[in-house]
């Protein structure tokens, strides 16, 4: 529509310069992760003499990277599945039931969104520590367990997710559901066969917003998992405690930690951006 003027070219150059500045930390982290400690100290900005991957092998072993990666994957994956199913179900009955109880419950879920994690973290740890019992030789404990943390992510994540689903479901005409009921569908089936498939766009938003939060979360897992089940952020923190000044290993570990995020971002970029916008403008 417009021609590419010299003015545009200046803006373009300025934009690219800004882009390079933005990327410098990643670039420095990456090139230095292949250097020896002496090389890093001597010259931080030049490329490594040889692209030696020994830092990576050492970091993977010392940080126990693969088990941290697996823990992060398990916790994020199952938390997202449970948050999506449970919040969608809850939001649907909250929209379709016009009783006062339903309105009050919805209001409580929304109001609780303003409670910052810091305000509940101390009693939460205390309470979770108390939930620890054995049935049929199975020791059930909320602290230091995957399922305990996943349960808490459902508790903390459901408010916003219900809110997003609630807004979306309000826009779905109830006639569709009524037609399915006339055709002999039970309500349970109506939800899973008719309503839930229509929620796909908002489900993507819910997964993006909760996924970024859970994958990167540090404080909650550090309080509830302790050292027993390290996720990537926890393993990173422990690693830095032990190898404070071994930057060559630390940089390799950091590079490893962000590679999955970058791959995910490049694959799902459009969905992520859409999710962020939908989540913010709600």
């Amino acid at each position: 529509m417009k021609k590419y003027s010299w003015k545009m070219a200046i803006i373009e150059v300025f934009g690219l310069a800004l882009f390079i500045i933005y990327m410098i930390p990643f670039y420095l982290m990456f090139i230095n992760s292949f250097k020896s400690r002496r090389e890093i100290i001597q010259d931080t900005t030049s490329l490594p003499d040889t692209w030696n991957s020994s830092n990576y092998t050492a970091a993977i072993e010392k940080m126990d990277f693969w088990s941290a990666f697996a823990n992060s994957m398990i916790i994020t994956f199952f938390s997202l599945i449970i948050i999506v199913f449970c919040s969608a179900m809850a939001a649907w009955v909250l929209v379709r039931s016009k009783t006062r109880v339903s309105k009050i419950l919805f209001f409580i879920f929304i109001a609780a969104m303003i409670i910052p994690f810091q305000a509940v973290m101390l009693p939460l740890v205390k309470l979770m520590g108390m939930i620890d019992f054995t049935i049929f030789e199975f020791n059930f404990h909320m602290l230091r367990s995957h399922y305990g943390l996943i349960f808490m992510y459902l508790g903390f994540g459901c408010s916003m997710s219900i809110f997003l689903y609630h807004g979306f479901i309000k826009g779905i005409p109830i006639e569709l559901e009524e037609a399915a009921i006339i055709d002999g569908c039970s309500k349970w089936k109506v939800f899973w066969k008719v309503v839930f498939p229509m929620l796909k766009p908002i489900t993507v938003t819910v997964m993006v917003l909760n996924g970024i939060w859970i994958w990167n979360d540090f404080l909650l897992p550090s309080l509830t998992l302790g050292g027993s089940i390290p996720t990537i952020p926890l393993a990173m923190q422990m690693f830095f405690g032990q190898f404070t000044k071994q930057w060559e290993l630390a940089l390799a570990a950091l590079t490893l930690a962000i590679i999955p995020v970058i791959i995910f971002y490049l694959i799902a970029q459009r969905h992520i951006i859409k999710g962020i916008i939908a989540g913010a403008i709600k």
Partner: protein, 291 residues
């Protein structure tokens, strides 16, 4: 079973998973927390004494808490202004007809997806090793010592990283707002002879005001609650001069084991966050009415 009974069963059945998880992780701890602020609870002892409002009194007398509060507020104010300025600038850039606009958008947003903890560690390396080594080579004195070594520069360093991380997020929201401006509006202004600056001032900025409200509060509450970045970049140091409120509460409770006082500070923290949120709702509602 009657139809009414069945509907009720479905209602509570569908709600029960979130209701149980939400009650146990949010509601009960929230009220437990308020209860503990009136006790001398230390997290371990079974013998809990009521102490009235003593915890709140000692909180207000605590100089370190006051210091934390002040630097958190300073940090928040700087961030709110800078992040929105930078976020808008980035959004303006990537909505021009640039050949590289998709690349730029991708790059500016990227830091946001990586957690504050990991970004803080990367920047610790940049500040402690890269910047100092460049500073020494170029013979620039103030760069040759680490920014993280002194209180004032350490706060500047934190602000820098926070902006680098979060401006791209605000950019995405500003981009959505800028793209919602009807093309005809800008074309019409052009035909009427408005120059670039006038178009920006009289059309673009007023049209993105709803996004400004959202972004101001996003930056506000995110900066105020900062923890991860604080931990990994400065760990509160040097001394405890850059210890923001979240970290202060954490240390009071889990390191000094003063659960009662720590929780009183957490409740204070909650009240401020709640006030911010209520003001936000008030402003967004007011805008809706105006529109």
């Amino acid at each position: 079973m009657s139809k009414k009974r069945r509907n009720q069963l479905l209602f509570w059945g569908f709600l029960s998973p979130v209701l149980i998880a939400f009650t146990i992780t949010v509601i009960i701890p929230f009220f437990m927390g308020i209860f503990y602020t009136f006790t001398d609870w230390n997290g371990v002892s079974k013998n809990i004494q009521f102490v009235g409002i003593e915890n709140y009194i000692s909180m207000f007398k605590d100089k370190e808490f006051g210091h934390s509060f002040v630097i958190t507020v300073i940090y928040t104010i700087i961030n709110v202004v800078l992040m929105n300025g930078i976020g808008f600038l980035l959004a303006f850039l990537v909505t021009r007809q640039l050949k590289t606009r998709n690349l730029l958008r991708t790059g500016f947003f990227l830091p946001n997806l990586i957690g504050g903890l990991i970004l803080g560690f990367i920047w610790q390396f940049i500040f402690n090793s890269a910047v100092t080594s460049v500073g020494k080579m170029a013979g620039v004195d103030f760069l040759s010592t680490s920014l993280l070594g002194e209180t004032k520069t350490a706060i500047i360093a934190m602000t820098l990283v926070a902006n680098w991380q979060y401006a791209g997020y605000l950019m995405v929201i500003y981009v959505a707002a800028l793209q919602n401006i009807p093309e005809e509006l800008i074309e019409a202004a052009k035909i009427d002879g408005a120059n670039g600056w006038q178009r920006l001032k009289h059309i673009m900025i007023p049209m993105v005001m709803p996004a400004v409200t959202i972004n101001l509060f996003l930056a506000l509450s995110n900066s105020f609650k900062v923890y991860d970045l604080n931990l990994s970049l400065t760990n509160g140091g040097p001394g405890n001069s850059t210890e923001m409120l979240s970290m202060h509460i954490y240390k009071e409770a889990f390191i000094l084991n003063n659960m009662g006082i720590g929780q009183a500070k957490a409740v204070f923290f909650f009240i401020i966050v709640a006030i911010i949120a209520i003001v936000q709702v008030y402003f967004s509602k007011k805008r809706e009415v105006e529109l």
